[in-house]
Amino acid sequence: RAGKHRSGGGGRGGRGKGGGGGGGRRSRGTCNRHPLYVDFSDVGWNDWIVAPPGYHAFFCQGECPFPLAEHLNSTNHAIVQTLVNSVNPAVPRACCVPTELSAISLLYLDEYDKVVLKNYQDMVVEGCVCR
């Protein structure tokens, strides 16, 4: 299933691999989280990034159709925009964007051969919504 979703604009430096965006019975093409694995060895950074070898970044993609499903946890504005779009297609639909992100930790060797452990915020998409 991972191979069916291409990363599109968010796929630079990574490739689809494993993981699950969830979704289950949700209609295909609806705003959802999709797998995106960033493999540090693919970009030749595994010589200075000690751990992890890569990480699941995920990305958000999909339609925000009328009416917006409750699980998409949309804003009032997104609901109005989608409503207007349903009668006037000149107004675009709401956008599928990440709202919940989490951090990753990197253990790496810096430019001076010192070992550094660092947390980076907002590196992993945890949830997508229509906004």
Partner: protein
């Protein structure tokens, strides 16, 4: 890879495959792609807070303690290749950055063989810490190996004193004036790491309000007798032993200075938050 950095393998391979095939991108396209990837690499390095791509030496050693911190933050179970050293993540210390430093062995002042003075001075080069980084704590970690069975029968206590060197001098340990930072009484029949708080000193060094003359460590017998350097009961790993055939052992047991802090960027995280994220992920 190598000179081209972020350029992936298939891009490098494209140059070879392009020979005589007009369907493949031209050299101009190839160069443009490579330029784009270099810009991408630069932006990624900037995101990671690095000015240039690190080129680690083959001799670089990752201390077990840093692995332990990494696993603690990520809640990754210890694997066989990096067995647990029994250390725990110091709660409240780790904001979003931890750095480890080994002392500069070339600058180490080794007392003469005949000297019975138990002190040893270490100099840590901490110039790699960016100016904007805010250090919240620092600790010096010393490893104590269990005494040999003969010595275990005569269980003893040792006192380990850690000083900041205020002024270097001509004494056997190269120290003229020193200020006590931390002290601990330990049993010689126990193994493990001891962490000493050296935060005030490192804070002053990184704030450039004090010269870095190093740290002095001395080991005394429980009754405050001076411990001779060549005494076999000397179990605190303060220096590379002549009998230490495995340099890898020394690399993992040598004194280690660790700083904890925040890199000065927005969105500081806390170890508790990371652990919470880890729970959320595992539930899903």
């Amino acid at each position: 890879r190598g000179d081209i950095g972020l350029v992936p393998r298939d891009v490098a391979g494209l140059r070879l495959a392009r020979r005589g095939d007009p369907a493949l991108p031209s050299r101009a396209d190839d160069v443009q792609l490579a330029d784009s990837l270099r810009i991408l690499e630069r932006r990624l390095l900037d995101l990671f807070g690095l000015q240039r791509r690190p080129r680690p030496s083959p001799n670089a050693v990752v201390p077990e303690y840093m692995w332990e911190l990494y696993r603690g933050v990520r809640r990754v179970p210890a694997d066989r290749s990096h067995g647990s050293s029994g250390l725990s993540v110091p709660r409240g210390l780790f904001s979003n950055t931890a750095r480890s430093f080994h002392h500069e062995e070339l600058l180490e002042v080794v007392p003469p063989t005949s000297s019975s003075y138990p002190g040893r001075r270490y100099v840590f080069n901490m110039s790699s810490i960016p100016e904007r980084e805010v250090i919240s704590a620092a600790e010096l970690r010393l490893y104590r190996a269990r005494s040999s069975p003969d010595h275990q029968r005569r269980q003893k206590q040792q006192r380990i004193n850690v000083y900041e060197v205020m002024r270097p001098g001509a004494a056997p340990d190269g120290v003229s004036v020193a200020r006590l930072l931390d002290t601990r009484l330990v049993w010689t029949n126990e193994s493990g790491w001891e962490a000493f708080d050296v935060s005030p000193t490192v804070l002053r060094w990184t704030a450039a309000t004090a010269h870095n003359h190093g740290i002095l460590v001395e080991v005394l017998q429980g009754n405050d007798e001076l411990t001779p350097w060549r005494d076999e009961s000397h179990n605190v790993r303060l220096s590379r032993s002549l009998h230490d055939y495995e340099s890898a052992t020394w690399a993992q047991q040598r004194p280690l200075l660790v700083t904890f802090g925040h890199d000065g960027r927005k969105d500081a995280t806390h170890v508790d938050r990371s652990e919470e994220d880890g729970r959320t992920r595992s539930k899903r």
